[in-house]
């Protein structure tokens, strides 16, 4: 089960992966690097959890995989979003945002997180 330095909430692994893949198709290692780079190491997604999530998402038809060749000429499995994955990402981000807003409204009414109309993709 996922374990990380900043404990990742159940379900957020999937949305993180979908978000990562919304930029470009990547292999598993690339996704891992991308997330830890973006969060400056704060979000440490365990590799085991990453791969389990990837295969689960693929079965659900949210991502699609394909063997490809890396820049270093190695054979690697690349994942990309399917249209269904893109739709799923959009709803999950919206739900997460709303959830956070409500959560913080309760925890700390002064510092509200604005449910800004973000430029999230798709």
């Amino acid at each position: 089960m996922p374990r990380s330095s900043l404990g990742l909430l159940q379900g957020t692994v999937d949305v993180l992966i979908l978000r990562t893949l919304s930029w470009a198709s990547m292999h598993g290692y690339g996704i891992s690097r991308w997330i830890s780079d973006r969060s400056a190491g704060a979000l440490a997604l365990e590799d085991a959890a990453l791969y389990q999530a990837l295969h689960r998402l693929e079965r659900k038809g949210l991502v699609q995989s394909e063997w490809g060749i890396t820049e270093k000429n190695q054979r690697a499995k690349y994942y990309k979003l399917t249209p269904a994955g893109r739709r799923q990402l959009r709803t999950e981000v919206a739900e997460l945002r709303q959830y956070m807003a409500v959560l913080f409204q309760v925890l700390d009414p002064a510092s509200r997180i604005h449910a800004t109309n973000s430029r999230h993709p798709a």
Partner: protein, 889 residues
């Protein structure tokens, strides 16, 4: 989610098996670990440390590997599934589109299939209701019908006398029980009075073993106990579900209450379940036999009136049961003079006894209707074949685009299955109508007709038949279409070739014509037989004859007024304006025979045979009976009202009696002897088919009512015009004597005759219908093939015409081809018919199964139809314009 995730991937990945999935997962994870290790080495770790650290950071590798493999395998399976479903959906969509694009073909195919499947479903629903549904008593296969048999009297199905029945019951050890009952259709009825309108009920008088032998339990209340069926304590009855619903609205309070039957109150013990209607479909009550006084039905050994059933003990065969009863019968025959001739028994499983007479005709119909469907299938196969040929290009394109042979076969089969399914759905609708129509043309006369309905089993049968029809008609064209060199065809750019496909279609047409010929022969034979039946001279004149069935109430008998009452009814009915003559008999012809007079002596003649003892059926009639019925008097005189109880009993006999016993002829001095009493034979009348139209008259006697009174009264009323006009006046005339008199039925004699030929009529009309369907389908098939040939040979015919062929030779070209096919088919069909119509022997009346006239007529009709079916396409060939035909293509 994309609609078909598997489809697009199909082109990139073929299906991965479990091992390939495992390899992929392993490779993917190995790549990850290698990259992570590289990263760590770059950060300064040694290669070994880096590998260890990468593995540590990864987490549970073993579990993840397993997890990923499982997910992938499941995904493979799911998408495989999706692809299959998708392919099916595609096939269905494609099939429907293909049908829409050929509406002419689709309509013809659907209609013929609907007719074929509908007819099959309707006939099957009858067969299921009547033959296949189990009888309404448990272990019915151990229940048998039992008769006394006398070879000397040529009577193998005689009822038993009560003493014989009791002796048999006491001695039979291989039976759980024997039971006797007296039931005569329209004869063993009784009047219900005291609740609402008086009604004549139909019922059976039974011994106490009746219900236990059938193992029948009451629905409400209970059946009759042995101590409730003894003289002195037997005023009980069990009523049928039908009567319970009809008269009492299904109210259970009726149980335990008395009903007045024949003027005597009897307590209702119970109500039987709806399906228990033994011994007749329409039955209202069961009453202990002991309530019938010996004065009404004699209880001596000569009085044979009991129908007997028995239940074999487990493990005992019918033959073993028969052997035991036969031994008992022989012992009694040796001891009892009255049973002298009755040394045998007839034992038949009850199912056979009830259904035996209808089994053969019904199975025959089922066979015939299967033939119709077979012709339909062959016909559609021919149409599909022709279509497949014209669709060769389309199939070739599909094949070029990657559709394998199996895929094309599957797609074409889907088309024919869709066709069959749609046809079957329409057919079930037709079957609903058909079952009602069957009831109207006589199926209601069948035993257990109330069980005929379209239920789940019948629907399942219809589905099965539809699918079978789809496969049968589709498999040959599909296989053939797929086996052609489709790619080559595409390259050649040719139109369909006239080759093997043509021969195959020819063969199909031959098969169709052959099947149609067999059906037509069957229909022809049945029609001839039916015509014979209608032409039978019944021995009386049935036209302008009204019949009324009634029973003189027992109160008149008690008061000794029965004879006066009887004469009064005859007089009043005779006085109705327009009534020419009126007579009465205990049973009218075709509705019952006379009472057997157990022992009469035909005195021997000097130089001829000695005294002979005979059993003679004797019918009770009124003086005017022969005149009213139109039965000719051949010699002597008939009864007058002077032949009454004050004078010695006299008899009238029929011609058959004279032929058999007095070959020298009748004269006024002829007598028979009953014991020592001489009975004068006063006259001879013409033979009447009393038992059935198909059985020649047996020796028979007539006795005058006034000398031997009976309660059963069947009026025969000769009317000036249509007998139905007189129904009301006759009824009023009867009620003017006693308004409480129940009338069982009033119907014209022609309807009585119609009822007796209802079954042959049903068989004949259905066989004719199926024969006509077969013929029409065969003609359609021939027409289709020839039309197709003409269109395919356009160019050739065009060239011929251009080179100077006469219209006659062009016509001959096409017609010759059609007639050749038809002729081969007819010959094959006649050969098949000679083999198959043997099965009809049992249902034919005075027609041999090889009747040359029928066969000749069938050949003519078929060839005539074939000529017509060939002529129309030939005419079209004639219209081909050579210039156009040559320019075409």
């Amino acid at each position: 989610m994309p609609r078909t995730p598997g489809i697009r991937r199909e082109f990139r990945f073929p299906w991965r098996n479990r091992r390939q999935v495992a390899e992929d997962v392993d490779a993917e994870l190995a790549f990850h670990l290698a990259r992570r290790a590289e990263e760590l080495v770059a950060a300064g770790l040694s290669a070994d440390d880096a590998r260890r650290e990468a593995a540590r950071r990864f987490g549970d590798l073993e579990y993840t590997t397993r997890y990923c493999r499982d997910e992938d395998v499941r995904r493979e399976r799911e998408s495989h599934h999706m692809v299959k479903l998708e392919a099916l959906r595609q096939d269905l969509v494609y099939a429907l589109r293909a049908l829409r694009s050929a509406p002419g073909f689709a309509v013809v195919a659907l209609l013929t299939l609907a007719l074929g499947i509908g007819a099959n479903t309707a006939i099957f629903s009858v067969v299921r209701g009547v033959l296949l549904r189990p009888l309404p008593f448990p272990d019915a296969d151990r229940v048998v019908r039992i008769w006394h048999a006398s070879a000397a009297d040529n009577d193998y199905r005689s009822p038993l006398s009560e003493p014989d029945f009791k002796d048999w019951s006491a001695a039979a050890s291989r039976f759980t029980s024997l039971a006797g009952y007296w039931y005569a259709p329209g004869g063993s009825g009784a009047d219900l009075t005291g609740v609402g309108t008086p009604e004549r009920l139909e019922g059976a008088f039974v011994t106490p073993e009746f219900f236990p032998t059938l193992r029948a339990a009451a629905l409400v209340g209970r059946t009759i106990r042995p101590d409730e069926a003894v003289q002195g304590n037997d005023l009980y009855m069990v009523i049928s579900y039908g009567l319970w619903q009809r008269r009492f609205g299904g109210d259970p309070v009726v149980v335990g209450r008395p009903l007045t039957i024949n003027g005597v109150p009897r307590t209702v013990l119970g109500v039987m379940p709806p399906d228990f209607t033994y011994p007749a479909d329409r039955i209202d009550f069961w009453i202990p036999l002991s309530t019938i006084p010996a004065t009404a039905i004699g209880r001596g050994r000569v009085s044979r009136f009991l129908d007997v059933i028995g239940r074999l003990k487990p493990g005992v065969t019918v033959a073993q049961g028969r052997d035991e009863l036969a031994a008992i019968a022989r012992r009694i025959a040796a001891r009892e003079p009255a049973d002298k001739n009755f040394t045998g028994v007839t034992v038949v499983p009850v199912r056979e006894a009830i259904l035996g007479p209808v089994e053969r005709p019904l199975l025959l119909l089922l066979g015939a209707v299967a033939f119709v469907l077979l012709i339909t299938c062959v016909n559609i196969a021919g149409l599909l074949l022709a279509r497949a040929t014209s669709r060769e290009r389309e199939l070739a394109v599909r094949s070029a685009l990657g559709a394998g042979r199996g895929r094309i076969v599957r797609q074409l089969l889907t088309e024919s299955l869709v066709l069959a399914f749609l046809g079957g759905t329409l057919g079930v609708g037709l079957a609903y109508l058909g079952v009602h129509a069957l009831g109207a043309i006589g199926a209601a006369e069948l035993p257990r007709a109330s069980e005929i309905r379209i239920d789940a089993t019948v629907l399942l049968y219809a589905l099965g038949v539809s699918m079978a029809a789809g496969l049968l008609s589709g498999v040959l064209p599909a296989l053939r279409a797929a086996s052609r060199n489709l790619q080559g065809m595409l390259r050649a750019g040719a139109r369909g070739s006239v080759g093997a496909g043509h021969r195959l279609r020819g063969a199909l047409v031959i098969g169709e014509v052959a099947l149609a010929a067999i059906l037509a022969v069957g229909a022809g034979l049945a029609t001839r037989s039916f015509a014979h039946l209608l032409n039978v001279d019944p021995g009386f004149r049935p036209e302008h004859l009204l019949t009324v069935k009634l029973s003189i109430p027992s109160s008149y008998f008690d008061a000794d007024r029965a004879q006066a009452y009887y004469q009064e009814i005859l007089a009043r009915v005779g006085a109705v304006p327009g009534v020419r003559a009126v007579g009465s008999a205990k049973y009218l012809p075709l509705r019952g025979t006379g009472e057997p007079w157990p022992s009469l002596i035909v005195p021997g003649t000097v130089g001829g045979p000695g005294d002979r003892e005979i059993r003679l059926p004797v019918l009770h009639v009124s003086a005017g009976y022969f005149h009213a019925m139109g039965i000719p008097v051949r010699a002597g005189r008939t009864f007058t009202t002077a032949d009454d109880g004050k004078h010695p009993v006299v008899l009238v006999v029929n011609q058959e009696f004279v032929r058999r016993y007095w070959p020298a002829g009748w004269d006024a001095g002829r007598v028979l002897r009953a014991g020592d009493t001489p009975i004068q034979i006063i006259g001879v009348v013409g033979n009447v088919r009393q038992r059935s139209l198909t059985e020649p008259a047996e020796p028979m006697g007539y006795i005058h009512y006034l000398q031997n009174m009976r309660s059963g009264m069947n009026l025969a009323i000769r009317t000036a015009g249509d007998p139905l006009y007189y129904v009301n006046a006759v009824r009023q005339a009867i009620w003017s004597v006693d308004p409480r008199q129940t009338i069982t039925s009033i119907e014209p004699m022609s309807a009585v005759l119609g009822d007796t030929v209802a079954r042959p009529r049903l068989l004949t009309s259905l066989l004719l219908l199926f024969g006509a369907m077969g013929l029409a389908l065969g003609a359609l098939g021939l027409y289709g093939v020839l039309s197709y040939t003409v269109s395919q040979r356009r160019q050739e015919i065009g060239v011929r015409v251009a080179l100077g062929a006469t219209p006659g030779s062009v016509l001959a070209l096409v017609v010759r081809q059609g007639m050749t096919l038809a002729l081969v088919g007819v010959v094959a069909g006649i050969a098949g018919a000679l083999l198959l119509t043997r099965l009809m022997a049992a249902v034919l009346y005075q027609v041999r199964t090889t009747d040359p006239a029928t066969f000749a007529a069938v050949v003519l009709v078929l060839l005539g139809t074939a000529l017509l079916a060939s002529w129309l396409p030939a005419r079209r060939a004639l219209r081909i314009d050579p210039v156009q035909a040559l320019r075409y293509e």
